[in-house]
């Protein structure tokens, strides 16, 4: 018993305890969260949550976060590397164009196209045009018709997003990055920027 007590009060034991439960969790967690994209709020969130946990649970929390970070953060890291491959860039651009178009068609016109009916958003000399099979409409016409519903209200969320903000939020907006032609400036369309035009 005396020997056990001596071990407990020994300086090396104390030092190890301080390191394991005091220093290491915070240090390693800050290293782990670097796996997330630079502006990902989860970086700050996990560090803040660490200090809510009891000290004894912190090492286990940190170990679990390595799993979370690898699961959530690594696809982003690999995605950036793969994004330099031209074939991947083209495929992503096409996917994003289809996503944007189907979203616009669904939200603006209530057209829910089946997956086997591809819809494409075409950029011709800066003119944005939506075509889906026989359905064809110019950007001006689309905006004229669709303005009140272009707000992706994201159902009943207190926040309201424009289409572009919504797409950015869903990480679908890579158009600017992958398409060779510049996109029309949605922000310059007043009806998409003010809340007064909501229908």
């Amino acid at each position: 018993m005396t020997e056990l007590l001596e071990v407990v009060v020994a300086w090396p034991t104390l030092l190890i305890a301080v390191t394991v439960f005091g220093f290491m969790p915070g240090f390693f967690l800050r290293c782990i969260v670097k796996i997330y994209p630079p502006h990902d709020p989860r970086r700050k969130e996990l560090v803040a949550e660490l200090y809510i946990y009891p000290r004894l649970e912190r090492p286990f929390f940190v170990a679990e976060q390595l799993e979370t970070a690898l699961h959530e953060g690594m696809p982003w890291r690999f995605g950036r590397v793969l994004g330099h491959i031209p074939a991947v860039r083209r495929r992503r651009a096409q996917h994003n164009l289809e996503t944007v178009t189907s979203f616009l068609l669904r939200e603006s016109f209530g057209l829910d196209l089946p997956a086997d009916q591809p819809a494409f958003l075409c950029l011709n000399d800066g003119e944005l045009e939506v075509m889906a099979n026989e359905f064809s409409i110019s950007m001006d016409e689309m905006l004229r018709l669709a303005t009140p519903r272009m707000y992706a209200r994201w159902r009943t969320s207190p926040k309201e997003y424009t289409v572009m903000e919504w797409l950015q939020r869903r990480s679908h907006l890579r158009l600017q990055r992958y398409s060779k032609q510049p996109l029309p400036r949605f922000s310059q369309v007043p009806c998409l920027c003010t809340c007064d035009d909501r229908g």
């Binding site: 969130e45 803040a48 946990y53």
Partner: protein, 97 residues
Amino acid sequence: MIQVAAVLLAEPDARHWGYDLIKRSGERSAVVYPMLTKMLNEGWLTDGWEDPTAIKEKRPPRRYYELTDTGRQELGAALRYARTDRRFSAMNLGWVG
């Protein structure tokens, strides 16, 4: 997801914190955080940050989550379904099957 949904819907108007969700749902943090990200992307939750001036302890501000109306509907539907499904009967969700 069902346990997390049950915890969120137990207090549908409250602010929910990651730590509390993990403790009350009994799920691991490695499961809960990716789930929260998906719910945010689906618009079922909104997030925000604690007011730093209101924190008394020495720690950074925490992120909170709030259910949206859509989240209440969607998670409520999922929970109602789970209550009728025998597979979830061990979860103490008020099974009615």
